[in-house]
Subunit: 166 residues, 2 copies
DNA sequence: CCGCCTCTACCTATCAGTCGATAGGTTTTG
DNA sequence: CAAAACCTATCGACTGATAGGTAGAGGCGG
């Protein structure tokens, strides 16, 4: 049954997006799901495995969602995705946090964060070639805006910092 | 003698900028300085105290440095500061990491990160009033660019993402 | 000058709590 | 019946933090 496994991934994703890799434990996640920490290890042997799996699922889910909208609306779509997450529960991009913490992260986890940014930037300025750095600029603005909105404890900061992206 | 205290702050700043709040311990810092962890507690009773002190010193130092340059060159100055830190040892903005992790941080530490962004944005678009959100946009771009450069393990990402900042 | 005192800095030793992880038994499910 | 899921119990390592002792510097009265 994949439901427990998904619940573990859900809980872990929430935890990481709130406090980062160092901000959660197997016991935290287990308690969220309603099982014991040993059972989390049964599905994901190590913390590295679990975190990497969360990041991979996160990336695949978002990339797929954005690929469903036309090219010219993708920047707005990304902005809306992050805006909603921030408004609803004050959480930022999973791979944004992982990127920030990357100096103290296991290599496979950093690799997943890297993959996210490679694929995410590719969904923007895919072919227009004038500025192949547009994707980098857009995600830098979005990630930084989330980070600042959280630090300043004001969701409006995200809107104001990214207003010119639309 | 304030030298040890400064060394503790230096080591802690390096540690946090690399791996975040959850990525260092009193024993790590003590080993860096060449003393015992109990001696770190002597200068900074709790991890919250230590981290908040590091963030405050960091903020004061950078704000003062930027205030020494004329208004129209400040964006470039901030960009240069962060670019150098990233190039030299792959470290990002201290308060950027803290902002990302803020969901699992003690309140006084978050307050210091907040203070940084309030003062930092104020050094830009201080009076020209046309866009009082310019500071937010600039720092979102800078913080996000650092984060991505680290995640993608490529310092050039920072340059490319912030090239349009002037 | 000496002896004394106090303060700061640092130490050793230890605490209880939590961490990731494992071994091995039990329950559920197909 | 076999496999997958979940459990209890425990491990050693590490965490932040505390208690209490030691060494040395500086001030001060005599």
């Amino acid at each position: 049954m994949a439901v427990t496994k998904d619940q573990i991934l859900d809980a872990t994703e929430r935890r990481i997006r709130d406090g980062g890799y160092g901000g959660f434990s197997f016991r935290d996640v287990a308690a969220d799901v309603g099982i014991k920490s040993a059972s989390v290890h049964h599905h994901f042997p190590t913390k590295t495995d679990l975190s990497a799996a969360v990041a991979r699922r996160y990336t695949d889910r978002l990339i797929e969602a954005v690929q469903g909208v036309p090219d010219e609306k993708r920047i707005g779509e990304w902005r809306q995705i992050f805006r909603n997450a921030l408004r609803q529960d004050g959480r930022m991009c999973l791979c944004g946090i992982l990127g920030a913490e990357s100096g103290a992260l296991p290599e496979p986890v950093v690799a997943e964060a890297k993959r996210f940014f490679q694929l995410a930037t590719k969904t923007i300025a895919d072919k227009d070639t004038v500025h192949q750095d547009t994707g980098l600029r857009v995600f830098a603005a979005l990630e930084g805006a989330m980070l600042m909105a959280r630090a300043m404890d004001d969701p409006d900061v995200f809107d104001r910092a990214t207003a010119s992206l639309g």
